[in-house]
Point group: C2
Chain length 425, copies 2
């Protein structure tokens, strides 16, 4: 991964080279232990392995090439930033580093200690100069989805200029109007940063590209209902994680190929685990690359994960943007409507999430659900209590886990999860 | 406080009588230790003592009498709920119990453990049937100012129907439009609940009444700039706390009388502490009745408190609603504008708070500031870091305190605050 061309590129991006090399070393080993050790993996997983191994290498090279051609790079931390619009400005839309402990001590100079690991991570990655995505960005877009991020962006803005979109907190018509105006404001900002004009034709293409990616992910979600489970939860999570980093048209093609392979497997009655393996669904906070701790513990405990109800999962792929609009105004309306359907815990009330979790759990034939909240994530910690009740009403048992990125609680998690899996067997 | 008429009333309100008696007993003792032990108190403090002693008694009787006359009672937990509008509907506008540990074990069934003490308190008071204000309400109004409250109201709504106003998170024109529409929606809800029509005349009167209260509190704030300090921080906090419970016209008259007395004191060069006593300002989270822990520790450490930059302090009284409007539409605009000036940490960015904290500290001639965040309050914990920098820039030292309602950390707080006060002497 770390050849000399990459090193030169990272040096230009002002990364902390020794620390970055050490990070890649740790991640490589972690990936080997968690991913490459799996049996019965899909042939299509080669794509995942390649993308992951080059996520700080060739993918960053592509970003630099795009920039050399005059295109811009837009980074974000949230599924509310409308990718359709970014694509319509010929810009590259990428996720930023937020899934590993990096620069935590530095981050705690800017945000309170009682801040979730994801936020400390994105601040730490920037302060420790370890994220080539952040360093490649021409525009970083934040949002107001939770108090932690909303206030952290103020601090982040001091070290990396951050444009913030206001996501409303209810779904009233007035809230929808606010959100629509934020999309229009984002469009203007994109036009300013990129120097391109967003036309109806370009936006229609952006919508089609984003929808095609969502359809591929929806196809994957549905195929996981098969028994035996045709793909591991780790690999499915990785696909969702990569969807934020790789070029969307290539990603869509590769995931559709992988789904073809899954269909063949399912037709042949093959899977990654015996048919009687307890099937679990994850629900709650997003797991950003390389936050594979919980899936690894779960699948090492004799269960298989069959769904991820999270922003790096179905929350990002469930809803399509309506493609029938022909004018910019109609398309902006369609985008506003699509994003207002997101069942983020930032909304009050957010009862649709309870319905969505329950119906997804039934659809993928989950025997149980593990609700995952990042420590200090208030919105999802609150909803854990509600999801538990909703699932209980549907006869589906739930285990609530609150954790962070440290490995200190792995043994405790193992004990709790093994006990939960035993009750399902 | 606990005569038999009151007991009958509390019984009708379905309070847990033995637990409520015990609570009043503890509070009475606490009040005696913290308030009645003070020397050089104002004559006008008799009003404060009386109101506090009858806050669950005669004041609740007044609410019942108002209800018997066909008026309604509206309760809230936040300075964003526009009192002008409530008054214009002939309704009584009161704060609800949120300042003491009560029913914490019950509250933790509905909200996560990592929730601030204020939120656990309002849920606990309701679940333990200890708050006669909550039990007297015809309408409880919540808001979306922080993740903790926003999500807690969903749970609270299951035990006490709660109407929620969406407070925006930025101060853009679109956010102001959302907020204005929320005021209009609140007006309609009030008309529905009360059966009264809110006319321009009534709203104008509501604005004048609310402004008169704010002017009295502004007058108090300014008088505290005198040296020696003419009133203790404890008593000034109590005045701000009582402003949420007592009848506003009576309160305004009494506080203006008390300010007359303060002026006479100042003219005579008298105060509650010697002129060389270190002067501290509090800044941050609200301290609801009977949360007097920190002021007591501070003033027992040889300092005097000369200002409270909080929602139960200057954040609630600094801005007036423009009184020049003659139509309902103009008055609604004036109310929207007034509330959008509030420098709550829920906004991003919220740089005006940094200016306000600094200028208030200078105005009251504070030697230092104690920033107070409730444990797990993310918005104010984030801003503590910013306020510290802003005050340092103005040459004003700051001590950051994070605490809750328990008494477990009192000795630790004493040690830290005494050390801070020593550096100022």
């Amino acid at each position: 991964m770390s050849d000399s061309t990459h090193t030169q590129m990272w040096e230009k991006l002002n990364l902390d080279l020794p620390a970055h090399d050490a990070l890649l070393g740790v991640l490589g080993k972690f990936y080997g232990d968690i991913y490459l050790s799996q049996e019965n993996r899909l042939r299509g997983a080669e794509y995942l392995d390649f993308v992951l191994s080059e996520v700080h290498g060739l993918r960053i090279k592509e970003l630099q090439d795009a920039k050399a051609e005059g295109r811009k790079v837009v980074g974000s931390f949230c599924v509310f930033v409308p990718e359709e619009m970014t694509l319509a400005a010929d810009a590259v839309h990428v996720g930023l580093c937020a899934g590993a402990e990096a620069g935590t001590n530095l981050a705690e100079q800017l945000v309170p200690r009682n801040t979730c690991a994801l936020i400390k991570s994105f601040i730490g990655f920037k302060m420790a100069r370890l994220c080539p995505f952040t360093e490649s960005c021409d525009l970083i877009v934040g949002e107001t989805t939770c108090d932690g991020k909303k206030k952290a962006y103020e601090a982040f803005n001091e070290i990396a200029p951050t444009y913030v979109m206001e996501v409303p907190q209810t779904k009233t018509p007035a809230a929808r109007a606010l959100w629509r105006s934020e999309i229009v404001r984002y469009m203007a900002e994109l036009e300013k940063v990129t120097g391109r004009t967003i036309t109806a034709e370009k936006l229609a293409q952006g919508i089609r590209t984003a929808n095609a990616k969502r359809r591929a992910l929806q196809r994957l979600t549905k195929l996981r209902a098969a028994s035996p489970a045709p793909i591991s939860g780790r690999d499915a999570l990785l696909i969702n994680q990569i969807s934020f980093y790789d070029e969307p048209v290539r990603f869509t093609a590769k995931i559709n190929e992988l789904c073809d392979e899954l269909e063949a497997r399912i037709a042949a009655g093959q899977g990654v685990a015996p048919a009687n393996t307890p099937r679990l669904m994850l629900s709650g906070c997003p797991m950003a690359v390389p936050n594979w701790k919980l899936p690894y513990v779960v699948e090492s405990a004799g269960a298989v994960i069959v769904g991820e109800e999270s922003c790096i999962g179905t929350r990002n792929s469930r809803d399509l943007t309506d493609e029938s609009g022909t004018t910019l105004e109609a398309m902006i309306d369609a985008i506003a409507d699509r994003y207002m359907k997101i069942d983020c815990a930032c909304f009050t009330p957010n009862t649709e999430r309870l319905d969505n979790v329950t119906s997804l759990a039934k659809m993928v034939k989950a025997d149980g659900v593990i609700h995952y909240s990042l420590l200090f994530c208030q919105p999802y910690s609150h909803e854990a209590l509600k999801v538990d009740k909703a699932l209980a009403g549907a006869g589906i048992p739930m285990l609530s886990i609150e954790t962070d990125y440290s490995m200190e609680d792995v043994e405790q998690l193992k004990t709790r999860i093994e006990a939960f899996v035993e009750t399902l067997a």
